[in-house]
């Protein structure tokens, strides 16, 4: 990957999509066009509560089925972090009629590709196949919604796989460890503070019974959204949905985390991770921010525009000030994801230039935020940012997965299809005044955590500090 792109691109990419095959962004960047409509989805709901959405795209004779369950890692039971994700793995371990590990093999030999993911708010399963194999994957997906059967002899090694996954993603990577600790500090109560992969000591103790209990509670048609996109029409999908998903009985009614509220946040937090594996320091700050799932659509729209103005790309405020003009940072940017069910975060990240201390870097970033809070944003900035966001929507139509992902994400984070389709119109309405108000709401340091990733202290420096403390001396710590 190009250095320059890495520095300009959104930073915590690994947190949004891991691996090569991934969703490029859940931000609802949508179409610029004569109509407000974006993907033109069509929808119906089965008697058992399964919502089905069809997005037509006839460029290639290919279809993509995506089944989203309205359950994610933030729904892991207390003490059992990692369960939603572990279950996702176990969903490939067989049903009454399919042998363990056969699911992907069958898809592959039918010329298809498949994968799955777990996020904080949803768990998704998807396949991309030639259009004449849609019936096959619908049958198989419906089968495991209703008939999962997992042999303990399969469940045990799969737990080990998940532990290795945690080692790869987190234990082997100091930056990931820091981000995990930051999330736990950012939210006092809300379960976004729990890592999706699970804390190691809880993950290792998960049982098959835990997973099956979770499955029976959450994996039901009334708690799921089926999105089918590609060279297909709603009239072709409907009979297949009725035939394969229709017979599955409704599950228990789920009320999602409705009683979970963050208490007032009154103290700025700082999390520092030192490791001898770190060569280059990094600075992060996350502020708690309102999300669309919480019903703060207007604020979210304003924050999305602000995200572009403040920290997306080389002409953004932070990049220009910190990298070009003041030459304090190698890279800097911002990050905001509106599409969460609970409170989300507005993040800023930076790498200091060699020789620049993090204190100086932080002060400079805070100066930029202060400027923003004092003077707001200009009409010109807002206009340019909106143009970019709206153009992104056309680009989103260049592949099958973007539309399906956007719809699936919306419907699993408390939003509606209309929210997706009306997004361009909503963005167009955002005013500089609204952006300023949103910034004033969000950029309160007492509602934030600042993270520092630093190399290990040199042995000499650490020893000097200890010596200075031991003899009660307050004379400098030695340089």
């Amino acid at each position: 990957m190009k250095v320059i792109d890495f520095f300009k691109a959104k930073p915590r990419l690994w947190r949004r999509f891991l691996g090569v095959c991934a969703f490029a962004g859940f931000s609802l960047i949508l179409a610029l066009g004569a109509r407000a409509a974006v993907f033109n989805p069509k929808t119906f709901t089965l008697n058992n509560g399964l919502k089905v959405v069809v997005i037509e795209n006839h460029r290639m004779p290919v279809v993509r089925q995506m089944l989203f369950y309205r359950v994610g890692s933030a729904d892991d039971p207390p003490g059992k972090s990692g369960l939603a994700h572990y279950l996702e793995h176990l969903m490939f371990k067989g049903t009454k009629t399919t042998k363990p590990n056969e699911f992907s093999k069958i898809v592959a030999r039918n010329g298809g590709r498949d994968n799955a993911f777990t996020s904080s708010d949803a768990t998704g399963y998807y396949q991309t196949v030639a259009r004449d194999r849609l019936e096959l994957v619908m049958r198989m997906e419906a089968d495991r919604m209703a008939n999962l059967v997992v042999d303990p002899k399969e469940a045990a090694p799969e737990l080990k796989v998940v532990v290795e996954e945690r080692r790869s993603r987190t234990d082997n990577r100091p930056a990931a460890q820091l981000e995990e600790q930051m999330a736990a500090a950012l939210f006092l109560i809300y379960p976004y503070r729990i890592p999706i992969i699970g804390w190691k000591h809880e993950l290792e103790k998960l049982t098959l019974a835990d997973a099956m209990g979770f499955y029976r509670k959450y994996y039901a048609p009334n708690n799921a959204v089926l999105v089918v996109t590609g060279d297909i029409t709603i009239d072709q999908v409907r009979p297949l949905a009725v035939k394969y998903y229709g017979p599955i009985p409704r599950g228990p009614k789920i009320t999602r985390r409705s009683n979970l509220m963050e208490p007032p946040q009154r103290a700025a937090r700082r999390v520092v991770l030192r490791s001898k594996r770190v060569r280059e320091p990094r600075w992060y700050r996350d502020y708690v921010a309102p999300s669309r799932g919480q019903g703060h659509g207007r604020l979210a729209d304003a924050l999305e525009v602000l995200d572009v103005i403040l920290g997306t790309g080389a002409t953004s405020r932070l990049y220009r000030a910190l990298v070009i003009e003041k030459k304090l940072a190698l890279s800097v940017g911002s990050y905001y994801d509106a599409d969460m069910l609970g409170p989300t975060s507005f993040g800023i990240y930076a790498r200091p230039k060699q020789g620049v201390t993090w204190e100086v870097l932080e002060a400079a970033i805070e100066a930029e935020l202060a400027k923003l809070l004092d003077h707001g944003v200009t009409e010109a900035e807002v206009k340019a940012a909106k143009k970019r966001l709206l153009a992104g929507a056309i680009f989103a139509r260049d592949s099958l997965r973007r539309g399906a992902s956007a719809i699936g994400t919306a419907l699993t984070t408390g939003q509606t299809i209309n929210d997706v389709e009306n997004w361009p119109d909503q963005i167009k309405k955002v005013t500089p005044g609204e952006i300023l108000k949103a910034a004033q709401e969000v950029f309160r340091v007492e509602r934030s955590v600042t993270g520092l990733l630093l190399p290990a202290e040199e042995a000499g420096a650490a020893a000097k500090k200890r010596a200075a403390k031991a003899d009660g001396s307050h004379k400098g710590e030695g340089k």
Partner: protein, 448 residues
């Protein structure tokens, strides 16, 4: 927070090179390729697809890759790829970036080992502007002091940082063992010394000698007509010099056979890179080799390596093997990451499966399923204009012919069980496996 954890890291089967993925019967219309020659005589391939008002243009310069960077100036090609959009013609760095960002023109450059490539994706209405900006970037990059210093600092930071990644270190050590003195074994992404040594003169020379019409391959897909494509090619490439540098590299001799290199590092999980020599893209056994590899370690979670190492024993989240085809070398290589205490077990299983496939090949059923996957899945990946444009460039680059997409299925299906058995035996050599491990691998003895 929103973060997503995926079940399987999809390994792109040889994505850097025109890959092993193969094609099912495509509707002629969806993939109808037109050969377009511009008024100035530049030829490119085009697929018109007006459904969405955007287009992608993809191009490659032969002989512009990182392996040709002068000794002591490693990373030059990469450095160039980051500087072309940092000021060109009358636009300084910020002005150029503003033109790109404000009009949502996505322009990217990249330096592979053998080729220098680039792409544009933009809304239809910005065809002219995109062509102009590309022209400026390729022929009049400014290399002003500020952006050069800024980007250099970013690269130096990247050099310091990349050793944080055990996989990077493992692969670096592996490549040095495999390629020894050949250019492919160098730090093609540069070193501290090389980035400090590169001067503006080097940058200007690169642009003057490596971007030339006789080296250019180009393709476009999307909402762009033949006439518009011709105009764009002339706009972007029309006044490149006719001829570029003709320096080339020798064929690589593959070394390292049987080595086990251990780089000790205090991390909980060891990362192992492994493999040996392979074949090149134009080898007649390429498809057969792809199929053997698919069964062994290319088929995501359905491969033998994944079955033995991940599914049955939970030793790894990701384990794979793949063919890497380069201009002067072919490789078969893979990677696995397992806790320190058990990595030896993963390595033993890799050796065992390698030996098994070399000796017994694959079954008729596996061959059938593999063909079915390779033919059927190909166009499921071609779901963006950028990917299709990249594919068209690849087909031209490897001289596969304009009817390649139609012939592909037949090429796959023509491979026989005898072919794959022979190729497995000839190509997959367990005794030649070179391992490079980073971590604290318990029970793994280095073999220098």
């Amino acid at each position: 927070m929103i973060a997503i954890v995926e079940r399987a890291m999809n390994v792109r089967l040889g994505v850097l090179v025109l890959c092993s993925v193969i094609l099912l019967a495509l509707p002629a219309q969806a993939m109808r390729i037109k050969v377009v020659t511009s008024p100035k005589g530049i030829t490119g391939w085009l697929i018109e697809s007006p459904t969405v008002p955007l287009f992608s243009l993809s191009f490659t310069f032969r002989g512009g890759g990182a392996a040709l960077d002068p000794a002591g100036k490693e990373g030059l090609a990469d450095f160039i790829s980051s500087l072309l959009d940092e000021g060109a013609g009358s636009l300084d760095a910020q002005a150029f970036q503003a033109k790109l960002e404000n009009n949502s023109i996505r322009m990217r450059f990249s330096a592979g080992a053998d080729y220098f490539s680039g792409s544009i994706r933009a809304l239809t209405e910005y065809q002219s502007l995109a062509g102009d900006l590309l022209h400026m970037a390729l022929t009049q990059p400014r290399f002003d002091a500020e952006p050069v210093a800024r980007i250099r600092a970013q690269y130096l930071s990247s050099v310091r940082r990349r050793v944080e990644r055990p996989g990077y270190s493992a692969r670096r050590a592996w490549k040095r063992a495999i390629f020894k003195d050949h250019a492919y074994g160098r730090d093609l992404d540069g070193t501290k010394a090389s980035f400090k040594a590169i001067v503006v003169g080097d940058l200007k020379k690169f642009v003057a000698t490596r971007f030339a019409r006789d080296k250019l391959i180009v393709a476009a897909v999307g909402d762009i007509s033949e006439t518009e494509f011709g105009q764009m090619m002339d706009r972007a490439f029309g006044d490149l010099p006719a001829h570029g540098a003709t320096k080339t590299l020798p064929e690589a001799k593959i070394s390292g056979a049987g080595k086990v290199i251990v780089t000790e590092r205090d991390i909980p999980q060891s990362v192992a890179v492994f493999g040996h020599g392979g074949i090149k893209r134009d080898h007649p056994d390429y498809y057969a080799a792809t199929m053997v590899n698919y069964v062994l370690g290319g088929g995501g979670l359905t491969s033998r390596l994944a079955t033995e190492i991940r599914e049955k024993r939970g030793l790894a989240y990701s384990v794979y093997s793949r063919l890497v085809t380069m201009k002067h070398a072919g490789l078969i290589t893979g990677r696995v990451a397992t806790a320190n205490a058990r990595i030896a077990e993963s390595i033993a299983l890799i050796r065992e499966q390698w030996a098994k496939i070399a000796k017994f090949g694959i079954t008729a059923e596996e061959l059938r399923d593999t063909k079915s996957y390779l033919t059927g899945s190909f166009f499921t990946r071609l779901n963006s204009t950028r990917r299709v444009a990249g594919l068209l460039v690849s087909i031209q680059l490897h001289g596969m012919g304009i009817d390649y997409l139609e012939r592909r299925n037949q090429l796959i299906n023509a491979v026989s069980l005898d072919d794959v058995r022979r190729v497995a035996r000839q190509l997959f050599k367990p005794e030649d496996l070179t391992f490079s491990i980073v971590g604290r691998p318990k029970g793994v003895k280095p073999r220098p």
